[in-house]
């Protein structure tokens, strides 16, 4: 995928003499030593990464790790001390204030903040119009556009409410809508859901993912919550003391933590929420093919000693599940016949999940279908693998993690 944001050797020092601080860092001084000796704070130090188009890139770290500073460097709310920030091929560290303003209007959907940062004296509609208003878009057009976005975030009917009349979740929808109303493709979200209570938070995360499916923005999302990072992020950068410790997908980070710091983080996670079906599935065993006669199918079952078998068509699309005992009974009934015709009634619905289905949901499909393995399928219902009950339990116990990959 296309590179949207490329960050090279980016550093930010808060203080009067950034060069001196960076020099000291090179010579092995720690962040704390520099703060004590020079009264300068290292915000971000020598960071390199690339955000791809239309991905959700999460910056994860504890407070003081520099994640918010790094995000504010991306749209130059903070001016970097050294390094490059290349967005769509333009190094924005070289823009003058006017050019920067124009660039922000064109490329950034503003920002979504933890405390919403919506204007208390404006209605929902007027708040959503804010970005367009700054660009000088005409009243009719920006109103029409804003109403569309308001609808898409589920705020319709509240256009004329003031922020103080709305709940936290609703206020954050306003914040999100304000960003989405602008015709740009980079959305920065700073702890956007951290002030919401857990249920609403979860709901907002789902809605963001749903919106993202349609809107395909490039999102840089800052959070201190690993669960949230893993839920939302296509890729996650874990930060510590102004540096990036590890970048990777949730599974990469869980299965191969780069150091003890990351490991300690990951250990406290609710594993079932992050591990996906794809991570623990086994290669598909032999399947019954449509067109196979009952006796052929029975032979396949016996060979493996299974309680049943998945049935697919010739394109590996999953048709269903056949239980061994029912098949045996059917064959017995029709023993006299030379060629027993296959009875479609034998095929039961199979439990199936996608590769990126979280383990929690895999467990749910187990409780719905008490028999057989769970089929892991792609978007076209083609069989990619199977999950047997034992694998789920094993994956939930820590030791299994290293071998799962």
């Amino acid at each position: 995928m296309e590179d949207k944001i490329v960050i090279r050797n980016l550093s930010k020092v808060f203080g009067k003499n950034p060069k001196m601080a960076l020099e000291a860092l090179k010579n092995g001084k720690s962040k704390d030593e520099i703060l004590n000796e020079q009264k300068q704070t290292i915000g971000v130090h020598d960071v390199n990464f690339t955000v791809k188009k239309s991905e959700i890139f999460v910056l994860m770290g504890l407070s003081g790790s520099g994640k918010s500073t790094l995000q504010r460097l991306i749209n130059r709310l903070h001016t970097p001390s050294t390094g490059e920030i290349v967005i769509d091929g333009i190094d924005i560290t070289k823009l003058n204030p006017h050019e920067l303003r124009v660039f922000r209007r064109k490329h950034f959907c503003g920002m979504v903040f933890q405390n919403f940062a919506i204007l208390p004296h404006r209605t929902v509609l007027e708040n959503v119009e804010f970005g367009l208003e700054l660009q000088g878009v005409e009243k009719d057009i920006r109103e029409q556009k804003s109403l569309e976005v308001i609808k898409s975030v589920g705020l319709d009917g509240n256009e004329d409410s003031y922020p103080s009349q709305l709940s936290g979740g609703m206020q954050q929808r306003v914040g999100l809508a304000r960003g989405l109303a602008v015709d740009a493709d980079i959305l920065l979200m700073d702890e956007a859901f951290s002030a919401l209570d857990p249920l609403i938070r979860r709901q907002m995360q789902d809605e963001l993912l749903e919106l993202q499916e349609k809107m395909q923005k490039t999102i840089v999302f800052v959070t201190h919550d690993l669960d949230e990072a893993f839920r939302l992020g296509n890729r996650i950068a874990i930060m510590k003391d102004g540096r990036i410790v590890q970048i990777g997908s949730a599974e990469e980070i869980i299965s191969k933590p780069a150091d003890d710091y990351v490991k300690a983080f990951v250990e406290n996670m609710n594993r079932s929420a992050i591990l996906t079906a794809g991570a623990i599935m086994l290669p598909p065993e032999e399947t019954a093919l449509s067109g196979d006669g009952p006796r052929t199918i029975m032979r396949k079952i016996r060979k493996k000693g299974l309680a049943g078998i998945l049935m697919t068509d010739t394109k590996k699309r999953v048709k269903g599940y056949i239980k061994a005992d029912r098949l045996a009974a059917y064959i017995k009934e029709n023993q006299s016949k030379e060629n027993i015709p296959f009875d479609e009634n034998l095929v039961e619905e199979a439990a199936s999940v996608n590769e990126d289905t979280p383990l929690t949901d895999v467990i749910n499909s187990y409780t719905e279908h008490e028999y057989g393995p769970v089929a892991v399928v792609d978007s076209d219902n083609r069989l990619k693998g199977v999950i047997v009950r034992g694998a789920v339990i094993a994956a939930l116990s820590e030791d299994h993690i290293e071998t799962a990959e």
Partner: protein, 276 residues
């Protein structure tokens, strides 16, 4: 202690003389503006029959501050008219309004400036402290030296005395606008002017209006004192009461000042809650 007296008195006199000589044109311009505003406001208000104006003021008070305040205003103004202080009342009101117009014209931009620059703020703060803690009477002397006697030095002294709270509260209000609101505006590519008009001033409105309210109240107190240098209005009646030891006359005029103060306070302190 020192072998000689520091000639502070002479220095200040010399400085005032110097300014008068060099900046005479500016002072003349000031005079013209102030006269123009006071005269027109006064004539404008006296053009109406008192009853019309009383109903109008009571109506505004009712709209902005509720019926109880409106009733107080109505009865107070009827009393004012009845005891023959209507013209003095209007004159004082014109002086206060003139001073307030000038205060807003100068104080609001200065407040914004002080909010945007720490350096400006650090220069202005001690000046404001100085202006506010100086006894009110002291302003009358340079005002008289520059503008002679009459209403102009009265308005100028009021202007200087009553401006600090507006500057202070404008600056404070804008500085208190949450950092994230500013960041949000920046992130959307707002210009400084857009930020000021669409974010900072509206969000700081309540605080700024509190500054307007305070400066009006201070201004009113100063306008009364300014009667000592011939500014006219209700202060003159108070002064006359003192000079002649006429308790009743002084008290009447003082009571009308209170009535005016109540009306102005109720109206200006309601601006915010009404519109928010």
């Amino acid at each position: 202690m020192l072998p000689y007296r520091i000639p502070l008195n002479d220095w200040i006199t010399a400085a005032v003389n110097f300014l008068e000589e060099k900046l005479g044109v500016v002072f003349d311009l000031f005079s013209v503006i102030i006269y123009f505003l006071v005269d027109n406001l006064k004539d404008g208000m006296l053009f109406f029959h008192p009853l019309i104006l009383i109903v109008l003021i009571a109506g505004i008070t009712f709209y902005l501050a509720g019926w109880k305040n409106a009733l107080v205003a109505f009865l107070g103004l009827i009393l004012t008219e009845n005891i023959g202080l209507w013209e003095a009342f209007i004159e004082t009101l014109a002086l206060v309004l003139t001073a307030e117009i000038l205060i807003i014209a100068a104080g609001f931009p200065i407040g914004i400036w002080a909010a945007r620059s720490d350096r400006v703020n650090s220069v202005i703060r001690p000046i404001l402290d100085f202006m506010q803690t100086m006894p009110a009477f002291v302003y009358l002397i340079p005002a008289v030296m520059f503008f002679g006697l009459g209403l102009v030095p009265g308005v100028v002294a009021t202007f200087v005395f009553a401006m600090p709270p507006l500057i202070r509260l404008t600056s404070l209000g804008i500085r208190q606008v949450p950092k994230e609101l500013i960041e949000a505006a920046d992130a959307f590519g707002a210009t400084d002017m857009q930020k000021l008009i669409k974010v900072q001033v509206p969000v700081a409105k309540a605080t700024i209006l509190a500054g307007v309210n305070q400066s009006i109240m201070l201004g009113l107190s100063m306008v009364v004192i300014a009667a000592m240098i011939g500014a006219g209005g209700l202060g003159e009646d108070v002064l006359r009461g003192i000079q002649r030891l006429n308790v009743g006359q002084g008290f009447e005029a003082g009571l009308v000042v209170v009535i005016l103060a109540i009306i102005l306070d109720r109206i200006t302190s309601s601006f915010d809650s009404k519109k928010a």
